[in-house]
């Protein structure tokens, strides 16, 4: 069992090794030892840990369902197995060796087939090139979103430690269309990358569906600015100073001003001041 868990974890983190969840190992030991009450406590604590991968969640729920089942809590077991089955590939929601478990799994699979248990589905087109310095609107289609469940977009600049998040809100026009917006100031500079993943979680923050996760985020590259691109693509060849029209406009204006001044000075009548002294005498 432990081997399966570890194999699942390895498969989920091909690009990046996910941290181990100590509660998972501990719960596995408790289940193997028949200590189901402690296992339930350990598993519930493990489910509150952040950044769980899909595989870890599947295994946590599976063990939780198993523990509830042996404690006689069929409702709890069923709920846990349902989540585990919804999250896991079909091949992994298989019947277990124990008849009690196998019977319960069989009923769950039948209910899913008859759509009594509705599975959250997330349809999401990975982002292409992102415009820099522009709010980024991410659109996703989410079906069968349970009451209390929320969808979130987690994002960070490539190289950053922590993710920021934005809630998906339901579109006013389409019931199953949701959008989340990354503020412009969170969008990396042109040429950088944005790492992100989408996650649908229930009220207890248990992941129900998602695309990517904290350790295997999707990546979108931020495009160059339009002005930069235009400048790079359509930059005019440098011209000599005498080929710039404005130079000649300036020269023309200057010559006109000098000519006007000269003409004014040439035609201007300069005045003369005459001081006249005279004496009046008696003859």
């Amino acid at each position: 069992m432990l081997t399966l868990v570890l194999l699942g974890a390895q498969g989920a983190s091909a690009a990046q090794v996910s941290p181990r969840v100590p509660e998972l190992d501990r719960a596995q030991q408790q289940v193997d030892a028949g200590d189901f009450e402690d296992a339930v406590v350990t598993l519930n604590r493990g489910l509150t840990q952040p950044d769980l991968t899909d595989d870890q969640l599947v295994e946590l729920y599976r063990l939780l369902g198993l523990s509830h089942l042996y404690l006689g809590h069929e409702d709890g077991a069923r709920e846990a197995f349902e989540v585990s089955c919804r999250r896991a590939p079909t091949t992994r929601c298989r019947a277990r060796r124990r008849p009690k478990v196998r019977a319960l799994y069989g009923r769950i699979k039948e209910d899913i087939k008859k759509r009594r248990v509705r599975q959250v589905t997330l349809t999401f087109e990975p982002l292409g090139a992102v415009k820099p310095a522009t709010p980024l609107v991410v659109e996703a289609r989410i079906e069968e979103l349970a009451l209390g469940a929320k969808a979130k977009l987690f994002f960070r600049r490539s190289g950053a430690q922590a993710y920021s998040s934005a809630d998906f809100t339901r579109s006013k026009t389409a019931q199953q269309t949701f959008t989340a917006t990354v503020p412009a100031y969170e969008v990396p500079d042109a040429g950088r990358e944005l790492e992100y993943y989408v996650e649908v979680a229930d009220a207890a923050q248990r992941r129900l569906a998602g695309k990517g996760d904290a350790y295997n985020p999707l990546v979108a590259r931020v495009a160059a600015r339009e002005a930069d691109a235009a400048g790079a693509g359509a930059r005019e060849p440098e011209r000599a100073w005498y080929q710039i029209p404005w130079v000649w406009v300036g020269v023309g204006v200057g010559v006109a001003a000098i000519a006007t001044t000269a003409a004014v000075l040439a035609t201007q009548k300069q005045g003369a001041t005459v001081q006249v002294d005279v004496m009046v005498k008696l003859q």
Binding site: T273, V274, Q275, Q283
Partner: protein
């Protein structure tokens, strides 16, 4: 003349030489003094070769030349006119266009209404250049033993 009439004439003559009686005496013989000059008037006539200063000073200059011959002058009042009048106590500064061959005519005006020409002077000025110039005009001689030079009104 009888001896009595001669004695009376001599007495009047003696009385006329003292105090106020002297002034009345001079007025009685129609002579001029500097105090009779109320204003002086400057006119500038172009083309001095055609100006006979001796003849010009015999009468009012405005009557001897057409208006086009008089140069526009700007006196202390700031208005441009054909002639500038000023106080006999000093000279006058006028502004005009530079040029050559001028005749500066200055006329002394009496206090009457209309004023009469008491005397005048005429001075040839070869050139007036841009900037400051100074003209020492010929003096105006008043005839102390005669009245006004002309009864014409010199004002332009």
């Amino acid at each position: 003349m009888s001896p009595r009439r001669c004695a009376l004439t001599c007495l009047l003559a003696v009385l006329g030489c003292d105090g106020d009686g002297a002034a009345r005496f001079e007025m009685g013989v129609a002579g001029l003094s500097l105090a009779d000059v109320n204003e002086l008037q400057l006119s500038v006539v172009t083309d001095r070769k055609t100006v006979d200063c001796a003849a010009v000073t015999e009468g009012c200059v405005k009557d001897q030349f057409p208006a086009s011959r008089f140069v526009e002058l700007t006196g202390p009042g700031g208005a441009a006119q054909k002639a500038v009048r000023f106080s006999p106590d000093g000279g006058v500064a006028v502004s005009m266009s530079p040029g050559r061959d001028f005749a500066f005519v200055i006329e002394a005006l009496g206090a009457g209404s209309p004023p009469q020409l008491l005397g005048s002077s005429c001075t040839y000025v070869e050139a007036v250049s841009a900037g400051s110039n100074r003209v020492s005009a010929n003096p105006i001689f008043l005839k102390s033993d005669a009245g006004a030079l002309s009864s014409c009104d010199p004002r332009q």
